[in-house]
């Protein structure tokens, strides 16, 4: 009887697994990612983004973009080729469930101060939320790695980074190179949540 109960539970679990993202499966599948992004999604290598606490839609969409070639990176592009839709959903769910930590990038207080008002003038919180922790398809920025923020925001500014629907490319167009630097320092100085 007990065995039958276990079987029923297993059947229910496997049926659910086919439909909903699975955090534990994501944890297992994230093993190859850990070398760069950290076992819990909090990376330490400068230039590599932390994934912990990123909204599921965001991570999932980025993986789709790497797989389809809309976003390119020497390390990520080949890795994403082998991922199924289910893998992406599981990985996104796993990283969303991990508590994010501030990267502790060495920031310049003068640039932090100069970057703070730019968040308002450039309407960052309209999509990234007032705490800059992201939502839905929009990423968490607070406490992200300085070098990565600088690279991505600079890429949007020059039109060489791909975004989902053009919103970031438009938002970054009026920024100067100095604005990018200051914004990156300010965002890197924040503590997520």
């Amino acid at each position: 009887m007990r065995r039958l109960g276990t079987l029923v539970v297993l059947l229910v679990l496997s049926a659910a697994g086919a439909e909903a993202a699975d955090v534990e499966a994501g944890r297992r599948k994230s093993a190859p990612c850990a070398a760069c992004h950290g076992a819990d999604g909090n990376a330490t290598i400068p230039g590599t983004p932390s994934l912990a606490g990123q909204p599921t839609f965001f991570t999932h969409w980025q993986l789709i973009k790497f797989r389809d070639g809309r976003r390119r990176d020497a390390q990520m592009s080949p890795f994403a080729q082998s991922l199924s839709d289910e893998d992406m959903a599981d990985l996104a769910a796993f990283y969303a469930a991990q508590p994010p930590k501030a990267r502790g990038s060495a920031v310049d207080p003068a640039k932090v101060a100069a970057g703070r008002p730019l968040v308002d003038t450039h309407h960052c919180s309209s999509c990234h939320t007032p705490t800059l922790t992201g939502q839905q398809q929009v990423p968490l920025l607070a406490g992200q790695d300085l070098a990565y923020l600088r690279k991505l925001l600079g890429g949007f500014r020059t039109g060489t980074a791909s975004d989902l629907d053009g919103t970031m490319t438009m938002a970054a167009r009026p920024l100067s190179a100095e604005d990018v630097e200051n914004l990156a320092h300010y965002l890197a100085s924040l503590t997520p949540r």
Partner: protein, 402 residues
């Protein structure tokens, strides 16, 4: 002498004004994201925001087809699933259904395998490829910045031919830059170039419906003052163009209404950005204008309904009164507390009388939350119709049995 003085003064004035304008422009605050643009200050903390597109299609078990309500005698079934962000559907000549997407960046081929459907991705990584149209063995695809074609695609679904550029002299703006694409009865390719904003005075190149020859030559504007039309069709008898338009946001919960329009001839202006829904002047751009200057809507389809697909029914399966009725697929919008749209409407055009406008299919909205978003329709050979749902990544089939 006097004339020289006038010219000199004008030049001086221009120099002074320009010297004021240039630094002023440099200090202007950056534009908010397109969806927030035009939001009045008193609504700065409004919780309303666009509905995010899920990154993956829903599994069949997560798609509650039984909740879709249709008139008596009609039946809805899940015809295909697992098509991420499924949007416009167009038939090949050998029975392949080509399906576009928007943010997913893909074009699909769906093959009917008697009872089940096989989905192949034939192009990926594209720039919001909403428009697909098929003619003489060739599939045409409209992205934001270009229109391309895949010659002989139906024989090469597993190794698709290259996407050859048909036309690329197009604006690259992302807001309202995605296109609907269809062949008119004149054999020309029609598409929209939307306004690059929620509300603005668009450049002359934007806010229109345009057309080109299938070989990319002969570009011309067909309709002006069209904020963004991502759905149109031609009347089966009169061969005249009908289209839907999404109205601006942040003017109110109940205004302005979206529109269903009639453009029987080239060159009409439909009011954007000066006049909305045929009778409301824009608070900013309407100054000094009158709504009477512009073509009025044929139907005010309702505020924030998000009208996409337009399709005249030409099948024979549905009751005879359905012949030449128009199906308007309303994907629903976000800029309203109580959501509207998320349904398929139907329009009966009546000579010399106001059109009849009523619900055909609804039920995608539950407790003010969508579980699916119908976006376009297409005929099947037997006269049933398909409805694409870009939120669930699915296609439904609606049939009728008397």
């Amino acid at each position: 002498m006097r004339r020289t003085l006038v010219i000199a003064l004008t030049v001086l004035l221009l120099v002074v004004v320009t010297s004021w304008l240039i630094p002023a422009q440099a200090q202007q605050p950056a534009a908010p994201p397109p969806w927030k643009q035009g939001q009045p200050a008193e609504l700065a903390n409004s919780p309303l925001a666009p509905v995010p597109q899920p990154p993956a299609p829903k599994a069949p078990g997560e798609i509650p087809v039984a909740k879709i309500k249709v008139p008596a005698g009609f039946k809805v079934e899940l015809w295909a699933h697992g098509i991420n962000n499924a949007r416009v559907m167009t038939w090949g000549s050998k029975g392949t259904l080509f399906v576009s997407s928007r943010v997913a960046g893909n074009v699909y081929a769906v093959l009917d395998k008697g009872g089940t459907r096989e989905v192949k991705t034939i192009a990926k990584g594209l720039n919001l490829p909403n428009g697909v149209a098929f003619r003489d063995g060739t599939l045409y695809v409209a992205e934001i910045h270009r229109i391309t074609k895949m010659v002989g695609i139906e024989d090469k679904l597993d190794s698709p031919p290259p996407m050859e550029v048909v036309y690329e002299t197009l604006p690259k703006d992302a807001p309202h830059g995605w296109k609907y694409l269809a062949f008119g009865p004149d054999g020309k390719l029609y598409f929209n170039i939307g306004a690059p904003c929620n509300i603005c005075l668009p450049p002359d190149t934007h806010a229109n419906i345009s057309r080109i020859n299938a070989d990319g030559t002969g570009f011309e504007y067909w309709a002006h003052g069209v904020r963004n039309s991502v759905g149109f069709d031609w009347h089966p008898v009169t061969k005249e163009l009908y289209f839907t338009t999404h109205a601006r946001d942040w003017l109110g919960e109940d205004v302005p209404s979206d529109r269903f329009d009639h453009a029987p001839k080239k060159g009409l202006h439909f009011g954007f950005p000066y006049c909305h829904q045929g009778d409301i002047l824009d608070p900013e751009f309407g100054k000094g204008r009158a709504c009477g200057e512009f073509a009025p809507p044929l139907i005010k389809t309702g505020p924030h309904v998000g009208g996409n697909g337009v399709m005249f029914y030409t099948g024979t399966m549905f009751p005879t009164e359905y012949k030449n009725r128009v199906f308007l697929t309303q994907r629903g919008a976000w800029n309203r507390t109580e959501k509207t749209g998320y349904r398929v409407m139907m329009v009966t055009l009546r000579m010399g009388d106001v059109p009849k406008y009523e619900v055909f299919a609804e039920g995608w909205l539950e407790n003010n939350q969508p579980w699916g978003r119908p976006v376009y329709t297409q005929h099947m050979k037997d006269g049933s119709i398909l409805i694409a749902d870009d939120y669930a990544g699915a296609i439904y089939r609606v049939s009728y049995q008397r």
